[in-house]
């Protein structure tokens, strides 16, 4: 299975494949974005955000795009840290694909992004699937940030995970 998960940069031709999960309520539930209802909006997001992004990859399973993963650095004095985010089509959940994608990311991101020393991820306290992905990928739980994040109108407690440049790859 390991060899079957690969990462590559996004291109506009991926829109049809990415739309499969972008239009899925199950997938958008944990994310700030609303479920996409048309491909033009998704194409626009790909053009303005995904393609120019400092570190964004499409997650491929057996060569086919099934998700995406990104590491977004902060600026100025905070440029030593960046936020990890990932999304995966729901029919591919539970197979270890997201975990493999995170591991592949951590193998190169500290070399790819200058000044980066800390990758962090925020996960809803009830998003157990995503918590497992990070724990299996070698992330450490820093703590629970209470009433931290508004998602779709509701204030949520979030777990903050981190992986620093000297942490061991798993």
């Amino acid at each position: 299975m390991d060899e079957e998960v690969t990462l590559r940069p996004c291109n506009l031709a991926d829109v049809d494949d990415l739309y499969e999960y972008a239009s899925d309520d199950k997938v958008s539930a944990w994310c700030r974005w609303d479920t996409y209802t048309n491909k033009e909006d998704l194409l626009n997001y790909m053009k303005t955000c995904m393609i120019p992004h400092p570190w964004m990859r499409v997650i491929c399973y057996r060569g086919r795009p099934v998700g995406s993963i990104s590491v977004t650095p902060y600026t100025g004095a905070d440029r030593c840290r960046a936020e990890l985010g990932y999304v995966l089509a729901s029919q591919y959940w539970g197979k270890g694909i997201a975990t493999k994608a995170v591991k592949l990311t951590m193998e190169t991101v500290f070399k790819d992004l200058k000044d980066l020393e800390r990758v962090e991820a925020l996960v809803d306290v009830e998003n157990f699937g995503s918590q497992k992905v990070l724990e299996k990928s070698g992330f450490t739980k820093d703590g629970v940030l209470r009433r931290f994040w508004i998602n779709k109108g509701t204030v949520r407690d979030m777990i903050l995970y981190s992986f620093i440049s000297t942490d061991p790859l798993v």
Partner: protein, 178 residues
């Protein structure tokens, strides 16, 4: 004379919070020019009052919530609230600085308590106040704890400070605790 006075802890002087004015620049320099105070800040100490005046003008005066911590109306420090960006308006972070001669008297704790009250009363929808303190700054961690903040965890390699990447302790105070 009260013989017990020698055995009591010195009382915290009465402190008030107010907005800054340009005429506070000399008071401002009493902490902003001191490397002992700026040690855990991103900025270096000010050496030129003109730079301090520019900072007061461009950053402090237009700031959404920035107050002078005063004793007898004279600023001895400052405290500010910064709402989180974007959608997270329910969350804001607090920062404070105090002139060195006024450390150890409970002044920062008192200023923080006044600020917590003002924040939850004045800022619509506020649910969470947060603050971070360097792992090597136990004095500031104590201030937050005494004011009722709860430690949530240690954030490793969180921020660059004067050429070094630092671990920070995250604290929060929720509206439900107010």
């Amino acid at each position: 004379m009260n013989h017990d006075q020698n055995h009591q802890k010195p009382k915290t002087p009465t402190i008030t919070l107010r907005k800054f004015t340009l005429s506070d620049v000399d008071s401002f320099m009493s902490w902003a020019a001191d490397p002992r105070v700026t040690r855990f800040q991103r900025r270096d100490p000010y050496s030129d009052p003109a730079d301090a005046l520019a900072y007061i003008t461009t950053h402090i005066l237009p700031h959404p919530w920035y107050r002078a911590i005063c004793i007898d109306n004279t600023p001895v420090g400052s405290i500010s609230i910064k709402p989180a960006p974007g959608e997270d308006r329910h969350r804001a972070s607090i920062g404070y600085r105090l002139a060195y001669d006024y450390w150890g008297k409970g002044i920062a704790t008192e200023a923080l308590k006044l600020t917590i009250k003002a924040a939850f009363e004045e800022l619509d929808d506020l649910e969470r106040l947060e603050a971070i303190a360097d792992v090597d700054n136990p004095a500031s961690q104590r201030v937050l704890e005494k004011a009722g903040f709860k430690e949530e965890g240690i954030l490793r390699k969180y921020v660059r400070l004067k050429g070094e990447t630092r671990d920070m302790v995250m604290f929060s105070f929720l509206v439900s605790e107010f």
